[in-house]
């Protein structure tokens, strides 16, 4: 239970830390936040994956969803840029 709580705490600190830091610098690209969330999530999940009774399948599913969301955000941003270039 202690290791699981440490994992949640590490995730929370990482997410909040990067959100506050990027927000302080005025970053307003959602795909930037998503990309860093994906990296942090995958790295921390891999570090704690040795625990017994680890819900690996669900956490891997979350990784898949995050990566997909990041890819879709990138595609949406690219489409916006292409459309704005075509219009200009």
């Amino acid at each position: 239970m202690k290791q699981r709580n440490e994992y949640l705490l590490a995730l929370g600190v990482a997410f909040i830390g990067i959100t506050v830091t990027l927000g302080a610098f005025g970053a307003d690209r959602l795909e930037l936040y998503l990309g860093i969330f994906v990296v942090e999530y995958v790295a921390l999940t891999f570090m704690f994956a040795y625990l017994r009774n680890w819900p690996g399948r669900i956490l891997n599913g979350i990784s898949f969803v995050l990566i997909t969301a990041f890819a879709l955000a990138l595609v949406a941003r690219a489409a916006t840029v292409i459309v704005s270039l075509n219009l200009s």
Binding site: M1, K2, Q3, R4, Y7, L8, L11, G12, F15, I16, T19, V20, L22, G23, A27, D28, R29, L30, Y33, L34, F37, Y41, Y50, L51, R52, N53, W54, P55, I58, L59, I62, L66
Partner: protein
């Protein structure tokens, strides 16, 4: 989902994060807050996932249930007048799972390497006082948590102890093993399980020491006695002495 705190917290984070992200996106149009909401959603989902993997019975509840068994063992040992510290025997010395032998006399320095009968009272040597009581301990069950047998090297023992105490039982953050003048010293960092209050602990050692001694006996393929154990500054140290067998 609601069976423990992780599930409740996860649900709260999920709902709160979704509301925050949606409000920040549609009303305020402020990306950092949207990102914060998404982070809360991710944390909530992870927390719910962890709630499904948490064992249905917590460690404290397990200890409460096992205390009844300890009380019974303590009564038997006290009734038989046994005072000597237990010797933890490997499977090669027994006709079954590893157990602890509480000898009638103190100072046992060798045990014949032949499987002892799976009984309560056994004779482990040729002398009339080479009699003892075989007791199943926490270590007898903990060894089943290993995926493979414990190897003979110190690094194998350290790996096995980490696998049981850190990964499986989650009662420590790290384990170190080293040899010093024929005795083995095992150091457990930040243990959450320290019980030296029960009378039987004077003979069997604390639950963590019992697990360590059981695995050490398997690794060395020799009986092991707990020489000393102490806890200081979030570190639990156990010293073990191998006993000759032949």
């Amino acid at each position: 989902m609601m069976r423990n705190a992780h599930g409740l917290v996860g649900l709260a984070l999920l709902v709160g994060g979704t509301s925050l992200a949606g409000s920040a996106w549609l009303v305020i149009d402020y990306i950092p807050l949207v990102a914060l909401g998404l982070a809360a959603v991710i944390l909530g989902t992870v927390s719910i996932a962890i709630s499904y993997s948490t064992p249905p019975i917590l460690l404290d509840s397990s200890l409460l249930l096992s205390r009844v068994g300890l009380d019974n063992i303590s009564s038997v040992v006290e009734e038989l007048g046994l005072r000597a510290p237990a010797l933890y025997l490997p499977r090669s010395h027994l006709d079954g799972p590893p157990q602890a032998l509480i000898p009638l006399r103190d100072g046992v320095d060798s045990i014949a390497k032949r499987p002892l009968a799976h009984r309560l009272i056994v004779q482990f040597g040729p002398g009339p006082e080479d009699v003892g009581v075989l007791i199943a301990t926490v270590g007898s069950s903990a060894i089943d948590l290993l995926d493979r047998p414990v190897g003979p090297e110190l690094s194998d023992l350290e790996h096995a102890l980490s696998s049981v105490l850190v990964s499986s039982l989650d009662v420590a953050s790290s384990v170190r093993v080293w040899e010093d003048g024929g005795a083995l010293t095992v150091e457990v960092d930040r243990p959450t399980l320290w019980h030296r209050e029960h009378p039987i602990d004077e003979i069997l050692g604390s639950p963590v020491a019992a697990i360590i001694a059981t695995l050490a006996a398997e690794s060395l393929d020799a009986p092991v006695r707990i020489l000393n154990e102490f806890q200081a500054s979030r570190r639990h140290s156990v010293q073990l002495q191998p006993i000759a067998s032949g």
